[in-house]
């Protein structure tokens, strides 16, 4: 190279002029440089000007500037991108719900039960799970509002105002010394702080009314009749051996539902030979009825008569059941005998629907059976609940007040319409509504204040057991608001107006105790002490009647109002997750319907009424048109309908007359009167001839008889032959037969505790008798021997029967020789510690059908965890709901007694089974769904092009396809009014997304991942801490939400994991195992503790060898 020689003493100018440099420049840079000294050429000038114009213009095109204030010092324990958990609480139905909130970068994104709380132990409900949507609802009010002065229209326009203006209005009214013309109206109050304020207000003469449409009026009145005071019952499910529910749903639709469900599940452990027996007598099909061992439908009207009959039957127990009694009589005799046999270990639970007299009678029966103080405890109530709600709202309506402050609730919609609460409110001079939405009630009020959401504020509350929960704010108020207690304190002119100080003062705690309580979410050992009760004299037993014994005569009809499993009393109408959550039994979304039993339907059909068509229901002068839906298991003559629908001012999800969003469902509140609050007798509904689309996620159209028969065949067994079918989707057996089985093949409960003996394990495993023919160890009544290759001929089928059910799995295996060359091998899961491609973790899941009661909390939990979109009613109708986890519900005939007319129900949660021979994987042309080394069936979203072939080939139909774009804020919650909101408003919803889970674009398949993000998080954490992942460290979202612990998840390769233990349970079976897809999700067969006296068939014979060894069946 001919470079100029540079000397240190040559200055730059000299250098520039050296010919060598010029040459080098010319050589290296060409003519462009040469142009510079002579000024610009025209072309060059154009180039530069063009470029600068373009570049200058581009300065306008840049990303929006964002102000980022990085932490100068990272707050303690805050790792960006790592979720944190905080305890908190909010109120539901007058009971504080202990919460554990997951927060991501300062925003709560998921709510679960607080696992430390002694009452609920981490159980949660679908309501709790779904309420995370509330703070981010774009339709929450953002400023206080005031009715337009000159506007006299019935539903006046409200103008936005500021807090100062509202305070100027409210403070003089509430801080006056005489408040006798001021009325307060609220729902049940669980907050001690609010109760304290209430007392102070009442001391100054104010009236405070408590009204909620779903309340405990009857129960408390019954308690007053029986014991002379209003007491709250606590059902000790863990202690109970015999449970009788009367028109009650204690394990689901109950303020203490999750805790009851948990307690109930603890008594449902057939492996430890510990099983309670539950009888459910009810008019509507509830989840309690579905979970019960015996269910009998009795109309709500006849329930009192049933209680009378029960009292008589308890008197008449002889210790023996007459086998010749008709079925329903026999059932009553069995209940009575069981209750008498288990004095002090039984309980009778009466539902709120029944009148006070029935409650009192049930108290008397429980008392007589010695259950009080053992299985049923009572505590005093927080003060507010002792009011009679329906009387309170009547008093409010007739009160003639000058000022009214309505704290939450929506009485204009929920109160008996005859009271005309809207007129009352409008007639009061000064009205303030405090609530999140401009709902029906708010629209009648002069002022609307928007308090903070409970997750944004300091709150407190009494949990069901009376313990005090402390709720810390999880996020700063999104809209510059204050909580109710802060507002009231300010307006009352109190000194303390700061939320935290109020709550702390109420709690009376300080220092470490306070910090600990805030951390825990509740004050330790603050549960209410049970009080002892003595039965007051004069409790009258209702007269025994025959109404419940006899077949329905086809003429009397009753209409029963039930809380909605989706919108409760209407308060969750704007919650799209809950609106799209299928009802556990009807599987109906986005609607309520008039539920009729098949027999009732046959009668009504004569007058032209058809399912999925509108029928007019008349009560008094009010008429409401409702779509009809057949609900097997409903009491004949009992029509059920859910309240809470047909809101006209809920918002863009639930219906809003102002923005033109049609109401969801039909408002049935006009039919309710204070007298007939829960049920009423009605005339036959009349047809309208209008058809109505109901968005059902299961059995979405009238299934023909071919389909119905097949469902029966597949569900439990071959119905005609009363013979078990190996491909039965649901396996079930009686506790008696399972005990007999366990006597033959005891479960080694120590199994799995001996680490490091993997080799032994294998042998141990193989030799365990429970695993021979490994599958239907327990099955249905008159179960034909599990098919075993060696025994095929012995069963006398001969070759002529060679193509019957018994043989076909083998036939199928021929197609799959490559996968399964062991002749007749049916072992679905075989643990090979040192073989196979998977050396690491082997993730798997089990679901115990004995424990699952179908409450759907897992479904919402999954939805929240995995950013699952809502598709809206039309799309659900079309069959495009996106839930990754669904709960299949099957109705079946009673397996144990052909006389029983009432259908049995089984719930089966189904999500991706993560098959080892996954059928979806082979058919995907672009390899977008592939197997991980840990056995997960991974879905690669950005590889997927959406041929949907995988969905077709999935036998479990768990894959979900994004038919439209649900990714952005506008479409994520695709509900009726979504297009009527600004993008900016909708974008608020993005705040609740779980950032650990990808949001799927249009045209992509998605499905359950076993919460792979949680698996990865646990792996990373374990690796950072140089340790193995604990055997039960990872919880999937569904598992976490499950109050009954039905779901187990973990590493099958770890013998200590619960899931592995469940896998070794003889009740375990794989659904559709004959397809040889080898699913990683297994089910544990359902065991029903059927009363032997009610069993027509003895399914103990099903257990191999039992009949031979015990020729005389043991007396029950």
């Amino acid at each position: 190279m001919n470079r100029p020689k540079l000397k240190s003493d040559i200055d730059i100018e000299q250098m520039e002029q050296s010919p060598e440099l010029q040459q080098a420049i010319e050589r290296d840079f060409g003519s462009a440089i040469g142009e510079l000294p002579d000024g610009f050429s025209r072309r060059r000038w154009m180039q530069l000007m063009g470029a600068s114009l373009a570049l200058g213009g581009m300065t306008g095109c840049r990303y929006k500037e964002e102000q980022i204030a990085p932490y100068a010092f990272r707050p303690q324990n805050r790792v960006p991108g790592v979720a944190e958990k905080f305890a908190s609480t909010f109120d539901f139905g007058g009971v504080a719900q202990p919460l554990l909130a997951t927060c991501f970068d300062g925003r709560p994104i998921k709510l679960d039960g607080n696992p430390d709380h002694p009452n609920s132990h981490g159980a949660s409900t679908s309501y709790t799970q779904a309420r995370i949507l509330e703070p981010y609802d774009p339709e929450r009010l953002r400023t206080p509002m005031r009715k337009d002065e000159g506007d006299s229209k019935p539903n006046a326009v409200h103008n936005e105002q500021n807090w100062e203006a509202l305070q100027r209005f409210a403070q003089p009214l509430l801080s006056a010394s005489d408040l006798s013309s001021v009325a307060f109206l609220s729902e049940q109050i669980s907050s001690p702080s609010l109760l304290k304020l209430k007392k102070q207000l009442e001391a100054k003469g104010a009236k405070w009314f408590v009204y909620a449409p779903i309340n405990s009026d009857q129960q408390l009145a019954g308690s007053v009749q029986a014991f002379g005071k209003a007491l709250r019952p606590h059902y000790q499910f863990e202690q109970a051996k015999i449970i009788l529910t009367l028109d009650a749903d204690p394990i689901n639709m109950d303020p203490n539902g999750p805790a009851n469900a948990r307690g109930f599940a603890l008594t449902r452990d057939p492996d430890q030979e510990k099983m309670s027996r539950m009888y459910a007598i009810e008019s509507q099909f509830t989840l309690t009825g579905a979970a019960a061992d015996h269910r009998m439908s009795v109309t709500s009207t006849d329930m009192a008569g049933f209680v009378g009959s029960l009292a008589a039957a308890i008197e008449a127990t002889t210790g023996k059941i007459n086998p010749d009694l008709p079925y329903r009589e026999k059932m009553l005799a069995c209940i009575a005998q069981d209750l008498v046999d288990h004095k002090g270990a039984g309980m009778i639970i009466c539902g709120e629907r029944q009148p006070a007299e029935v409650h009192a009678a049930v108290h008397a029966l429980n008392n007589k059976l010695g259950n009080h103080g053992k299985t049923i405890l009572f505590t005093e109530l927080p003060e507010s609940d002792t009011q009679n709600h329906l009387k309170a709202i009547q008093d409010f309506a007739g009160g003639n007040f000058k000022t009214a402050v309505i704290v939450g609730g929506n009485p204009v919609y929920t109160a008996p319409r005859a009271l005309k609460i809207d007129e009352t409110i409008k007639g009061i001079g000064n009205t303030i509504y405090l609530g999140q939405y401009r709902n029906e009630t708010a629209r009648c009020c002069q002022w609307i204040g928007n308090p903070s959401h409970p997750l944004e504020a300091w709150t407190d509350g009494y949990a069901y057991d009376g313990s005090v929960c402390i709720g810390q704010p999880l996020i700063r108020p999104l809209f510059n608001s204050l909580s109710e207690i802060e507002l009231l304190s300010t307006w009352m002119g109190l000194k303390t107006t700061d939320g935290m100080t109020i709550v702390q003062e109420t709690s009376g705690l300080s220092g470490n105790e306070w910090s600990q309580s805030v951390h825990d979410g509740f004050i330790a050992n603050s549960a209410a002490e049970p009080v002892s009760v003595t039965l007051a004299g004069g409790v009258k037993m209702p007269a025994a009647t025959n109404g419940w014994r006899e077949e329905w005569d086809g003429s009397t009809l009753e209409l029963v109002f039930t809380p909605s499993s989706s919108v409760y009393d209407g308060r969750f109408a704007n919650n799209a997750w809950l609106q799209e959550l299928p009802d556990a039994l009807t599987k109906l979304t986005w609607d309520n319907a008039l539920l009729v039993s098949p027999k009732t339907y046959d009668v009504l059909k004569k007058s032209g009424i058809r399912t999925q068509m509108i029928a007019n229901v008349t009560v008094g002068d009010e008429m409401v048109g409702l779509p009809v839906l057949i609900q097997p298991g409903q009491a004949d003559g009992s029509l059920g309908v859910a309240i809470g629908y047909g809101r006209t001012a809920a918002g863009r999800v639930g219906g809003d007359g102002w923005t033109g969003v049609d109401p969801v469902g039909v408002d049935v509140n006009p039919l309710r009167t204070a007298k007939n609050w829960h049920f009423t007798s009605i005339e036959a509904p009349t047809e309208t001839g209008t058809s109505y689309r109901l968005a059902l996620v299961q059995d979405p159209w009238n299934i023909d008889s071919v389909g119905r028969n097949e469902i029966q065949n597949r569900m439990f067994m071959n119905k005609d032959k009363r013979e078990s079918n190996r491909s039965a989707l649901v396996r079930e057996g009686s506790f008696e037969s399972y005990k007999a089985f366990l006597a033959e093949h005891p479960i080694d409960h120590s199994h799995g505790h001996d680490e490091g003996h993997a080799e032994d394990h294998k042998d141990d495993h193989a030799s365990r008798p429970a695993k021979t023919g490994a599958l239907p160890v327990i099955n249905n009544v008159s179960f034909v021997q599990p098919v075993d290759e060696d025994h095929d001929d012995a069963h006398g089928g001969g070759h002529g029967d060679g193509h019957g059910h018994a043989h076909w799995p083998e036939a199928f295996h021929l197609h799959h020789q490559n996968f399964d060359i062991t002749p007749g091998s049916r072992r679905v899961y075989e643990f090979r510690p040192n073989e196979g491609p998977e050396q690491g973790h082997r993730w798997g899941m089990t679901i115990d059908l004995t424990k699952c009661m179908g409450c759907h909390a897992c479904v919402v939990s999954c939805q929240a965890e995995n950013n699952i979109p809502v598709v809206g009613k039309d799309e659900v109708w079309r069959g495009r709901e996106m839930h990754w986890l669904r709960i299949d519900r099957y109705y079946g005939d009673n397996l144990y007694n052909s006389e029983a007319k009432d259908k049995m129900v089984i719930h089966q949660p189904v999500s991706c089974h993560h098959c080892e021979n996954a059928p979806c994987e082979t058919v995907c042309p672009v390899a977008a769904t592939v197997h991980s080394s840990e056995g997960l069936n991974d879905m690669v979203y950005n590889r997927c092009i959406g041929t949907r072939y995988c969905g077709n080939n999935c036998p479990y139909k768990v894959r979900r396809f994004n038919y439209f774009n649900y990714t952005d804020a506008v479409t994520f919650l695709k509900y009726p009014g979504a297009n009527k909101m600004s993008d900016a408003d909708l974008a608020m919803q993005n705040l609740m997304m779980n950032p650990d889970v990808t949001i799927r674009s249009r045209g992509v398949m998605e499905k359950c991942t076993y919460c792979v993000q949680r698996i990865q998080a646990a792996k990373i954490q374990a690796k950072n801490e140089h340790r193995e992942i604990g055997p039960n460290e990872i919880q999937t979202a569904c598992q976490q939400a499950c109050s009954t612990n039905a779901v187990q998840f973990g590493d099958l390769a770890n013998p200590k994991s619960n899931v592995r233990k469940a896998y070794d349970n003889p009740r375990r079976y794989a659904m559709l195992e004959e397809l040889n897809v080898i699913p990683r999700t297994s089910y544990l067969a359902r065991v029903r503790n059927v009363n032997p006296a009610l069993m027509e068939f003895d399914d103990r014979d099903a257990i191999r060898g039992y009949a031979e060894r015990h020729p005389e069946p043991q007396p029950h």
Partner: protein, 464 residues
């Protein structure tokens, strides 16, 4: 001349004395050329042509509008749902691919079997094949969820994807099968047309036509050497195309047969699909040629004998399809697999019974009329029957696709399939595409293989 040819139009009798003529009306070579060229040389196309073309183009525009709507919104505009992930689009795809079978079968297999009567109909049938496959190809193209990455289906070596497609997937086989079939059919059709295009070129009067046909005729001079090469190439292509006729629908049937959906997972599908495809393809050829020969006065070239032969094939394949329906039921019973048994029982007696019985009526019962010579030789009757066959064959695909998916293993997921307006409009629209292409073909390309027809005409002076 004209003394030896029977002056009757009925050439459907088989006289052992001599072969029935395949060209009637005392036509000589020049007449044939004039006749076929007259379609194109006419100053004005027949009014019917214009009428149908306008309708077809309207339908085609609707097709385009539907596809744009689909691309903008997502595949949710169709009625597909959770159990029935495949609905009408796949039904239509299989339907059109099936239609696209007759052409290549006629040109290749009948050629190899020296069935001389093929010469009058093979050109139109091949064209129909090409257009049907184009219609078919549209559906899987837009059927996928993310259309903009459709090319991921092909083994494109690209950095972006960093991997090959999944060669185990029948859908991938499908991509290869259909594209190969289309390519070979197109080549075969075009190559066979070269001498006739050269005729058009030679007779062209305007410069544009001269240029266009000149380019398309690839410099064909009609030299002996040219003919020699042509014949050899034709045989080779025919031999190549023959297995493709069988393979393409076999592989399309694998989309179903390889899966484990009850009602799909059957080994009979490949032959059954191929028979069905020939069945529907021939029916479509008859449906198209009967009006075409009438409009263009080609009764002497496409004679009743041609049509009758096709009707015989339709009846034969219809019987095969009917047998397959029966065997499916037998096997499902014989297998003893309960979901399989249910799938077939449900087809016939479940909530989709109407579709099943439309299929059986149209595909099995109605073609039995072809046992009677009247129906084989009456043009109106045969068109009605052939339209029924195509309705039936569409329903066959519907029954297979939708009824199987709607009720598979888990009753909890059973769902009914409701088509949307877009489904219906796109199906109609695909007929618009097909008809438009076919009409343009009729107008601008020789619809009868002039040179081939001449090869089977009795040479003058050698009538006996």
């Amino acid at each position: 001349m004209a003394t030896t040819v029977e002056p009757i139009l009925d050439n459907t009798f088989d006289d052992p004395d001599h072969r029935s003529p395949l060209v009637l009306g005392n036509m000589d070579y020049a007449d044939v050329t004039d006749k076929v060229c007259s379609i194109w040389e006419a100053d004005k196309a027949p009014k019917v042509w214009w009428l149908v073309l306008i309708m077809a183009i309207s339908m085609l525009m609707m097709f385009g509008a539907c596809i744009s709507h689909l691309l903008m919104k997502g595949v949710g505009v169709w009625g597909n749902n959770n159990p029935a992930y495949w609905g009408w689009p796949i039904v239509n795809f299989v339907f059109w691919v099936g239609i696209g079978h007759a052409g290549t079968l006629i040109s290749a297999i009948l050629f190899l079997f020296r069935q001389n009567w093929r010469t009058s109909i093979n050109r139109a049938a091949e064209a129909m094949t090409i257009f049907a496959v184009i219609c078919a190809g549209t559906y899987p193209g837009v059927h996928i969820g993310r259309v903009w990455v459709f090319y991921w289906l092909f083994p494109v070596p690209s950095e972006h994807l960093a991997m090959w497609p999944n060669f185990r997937s029948p859908l991938l086989w499908d991509v290869f099968a259909v594209s190969t079939y289309f390519t070979v059919s197109l080549l075969f059709w075009y190559m066979g047309m070269v001498p006739d295009i050269a005729t058009y070129r030679d007779r062209a009067k305007t410069k544009i036509r001269k240029l266009a046909y000149g380019l398309l005729s690839l410099g064909w001079t009609g030299s002996a050497r040219g003919w020699h090469r042509y014949e050899a190439a034709y045989v080779i292509l025919a031999a190549l195309a023959t297995p493709l006729v069988l393979s393409v629908h076999t592989i399309v049937s694998f989309d179903f047969a390889v899966s484990q959906v009850p009602g799909w997972h059957t080994t009979i599908f490949p032959p059954y699909f191929v028979a069905g495809a020939i069945f529907s393809g021939f029916a479509m050829v008859v449906t198209l040629l009967v009006p075409a020969r009438k409009i263009y006065g080609l009764q002497n070239l496409i004679t009743i004998r041609h049509l009758e032969n096709m009707n015989k094939i339709i009846m034969a394949t219809g019987l095969m399809v009917g047998t397959a329906y029966g065997i499916e039921f037998f096997i499902s019973w014989y297998s003893g697999v309960p979901p399989e048994r249910f799938a077939f029982y449900n087809r016939a007696f479940g909530n989709y019974w109407w579709a099943y019985w439309i299929m059986v009526t149209c595909n099995v019962f109605i073609p039995q009329l072809f046992w009677f010579k009247f129906f084989r030789t009456n043009t109106i009757a045969m068109v009605v029957i052939c339209i029924c066959v195509n309705i039936g064959m569409w329903f066959e695909r519907f029954v297979i696709t939708v009824t199987s998916l709607c009720r598979d293993y888990l009753p909890s997921s059973w769902h009914y399939f409701h088509p949307t307006e877009i489904d219906i409009m796109m199906f109609i629209g695909s007929f618009g595409l097909f008809t438009t292409l076919f009409l343009l073909f009729c107008r601008y390309l020789p619809i009868i293989a002039i040179s081939e027809v001449k090869s089977i005409m009795p040479i003058k002076g050698d009538e006996h």
